[in-house]
């Protein structure tokens, strides 16, 4: 007879369940993008403090660093940062509005086929995403073609 003690298997998805949006709807991907851009912006804040601290090392060190940041690679990173900030800010406005109960409709008796608040506020989602895309494109054109 097997002497192994019966124990349940830990089936928590962990980071994979957070990152992999799979077959879920558009909003599930926005959730992922909102968190990733949020973490990216926090990381940038820390790096930005380190970067500006270089000013204390003198003008030569500072200008050397600025020369490094003028390289095309850093232009691309700067643009990605800009795009992340725009997306995070506008999607944050959408989340704030829904958290205060706007654009979600009213509760009603569920009758099949069910209508969810997620679908009801989708026009707002599309408008916000279109606005974010427009700002990101305009920002890119002014950054790369001043």
């Amino acid at each position: 007879m097997n002497s192994k003690k019966s124990t349940a298997y830990n089936n928590r998805l962990g980071i994979k369940g957070w990152v992999y949006a799979g077959k879920y709807t558009f909003e599930r991907y926005l959730y992922l993008a909102h968190r990733l851009t949020g973490m990216g912006l926090i990381a940038y804040m820390l790096l930005h403090i380190l970067e500006t601290a270089n000013r204390m090392r003198g003008v030569v060190a500072w200008e050397g660093l600025m020369g490094l940041f003028a390289l095309p690679l850093f232009k691309m990173i700067e643009y990605a940062l800009f795009a992340a900030a725009v997306f995070h800010a506008l999607n944050g406005v959408r989340l704030l509005m829904t958290e205060l109960g706007f654009f979600l409709g009213r509760p009603k008796e569920p009758v099949y086929p069910y209508s969810s608040s997620i679908k009801r506020h989708r026009p707002l989602t599309y408008i916000i995403m279109a606005l974010a895309s427009l700002i990101i494109i305009l920002g890119g054109s002014s950054l790369f073609f001043p």
Binding site: N2, K4, S6, T7, A8, Y9, N10, N11, R12, L13, G14, I15, K16, G17, W18, A21, G22, K23, Y24, T25, E27, R28, L30, Y31, L32, H34, R35, L95, T98, E99, L100, G101, L104, G105, R106, P107, K108, E109, P110, V111, Y112, Y114, S115, S116, S117, I118
Partner: protein
């Protein structure tokens, strides 16, 4: 009535197996069987157990989407096995795994204890502070159809736990109260007979509470009863914000008690139309 006259199609079922007495980790087993139109995943599992794999375990009861026992991860989405038709999935290979974000007891059986514990933690019952009225009632609580509609949607929860399996926040934060409990917290908070916001707030307005939800909407997509738990969470957030700035519901005046003598009159007022047959 299902149409069994069409030719059955052969489908491969990839089923995740785990026996805690033998295995240290789950493994996948494949079975092929014929499926006819209208056959649900639950019926397919019963057939599979009867004809090929007698040791296969899962949990189910009503077979009609009411008991909420047969939640499974079917083709990478949490679904009730009894409400999911195999051929509607549109794939020749159907993968069936236990609900994620719960401990796996055996094969397709999840341990739903955390769901029930979180549900109980938000005090899912009407709290009325006037104990004298509770002990010696002088009348009945009045609730208009409009007041009922404020929370009625959320009363349809069958505690199947699909929403917690779908929630990406629950995946990384085991202490997050989750869509089911938070929607139920709103269900009772929004009830005009309830005076429990102050008692309930210590359980829900916490770090692992509603503000961890960033509206992924996966819970509402997974919910088999149209409860829309994501909606309940947003409405709960609004109720908490309004309460914190002093614009919350003024309790207990909202719950009106009608003297018993007037109840008969009210019943007549809300009575259905006379029978015609």
């Amino acid at each position: 009535m299902s149409d069994k006259t069409t030719t059955p199609r052969e489908i491969t079922f990839r089923v995740r197996r785990f026996d805690p007495d033998v295995d240290t980790a789950p493994h996948w087993s494949e079975y092929r069987q014929h499926v006819h139109d209208g056959m649900t995943v639950l019926e397919a599992l019963h057939q599979l157990k009867a004809e090929q794999e007698p040791t296969l375990s899962w949990r189910s009861s009503c077979r009609m989407g009411v008991c909420g026992s047969c939640g499974m991860f079917v083709n990478d989405l949490p679904q009730l096995a009894c409400q999911t038709q195999v051929l509607h999935l549109g794939t020749d290979v159907v993968t069936i795994a236990p609900l994620p974000n719960y401990d796996n007891v055996k094969d397709l059986v999840p341990d739903l204890a955390p769901l029930i514990e979180k549900h109980a933690a938000v005090k899912p019952y009407i709290i009325y502070l006037d104990q004298i009225e509770i002990d010696s009632p002088t009348g009945e609580f009045i609730q208009t159809p409009d007041q009922r509609e404020e929370f009625s949607q959320f009363t349809h929860c069958i505690k199947c736990g699909l929403c917690l399996a779908a929630c990406p926040t629950v995946a990384t934060d085991p202490l997050f109260l989750g869509p089911q409990a938070l929607a139920q917290a709103y269900r009772y908070t929004a009830d005009n007979r309830d005076c429990g916001m102050k008692e309930r707030i210590s359980a829900i307005d916490i770090f692992h509470g509603p503000y961890q939800c960033h509206l992924a909407g996966a819970c509402s997509q997974a919910c088999p009863k149209g409860v829309d738990p994501a909606f309940g969470i947003q409405l709960l957030k609004r109720a908490l914000v309004l309460d914190s700035i002093g614009f919350g519901k003024k309790k207990p005046s909202v719950a009106k008690i009608m003297p018993l003598a007037d109840v008969v009159k009210a019943i007549e007022e809300f009575a259905p139309p006379p029978r015609t047959v």
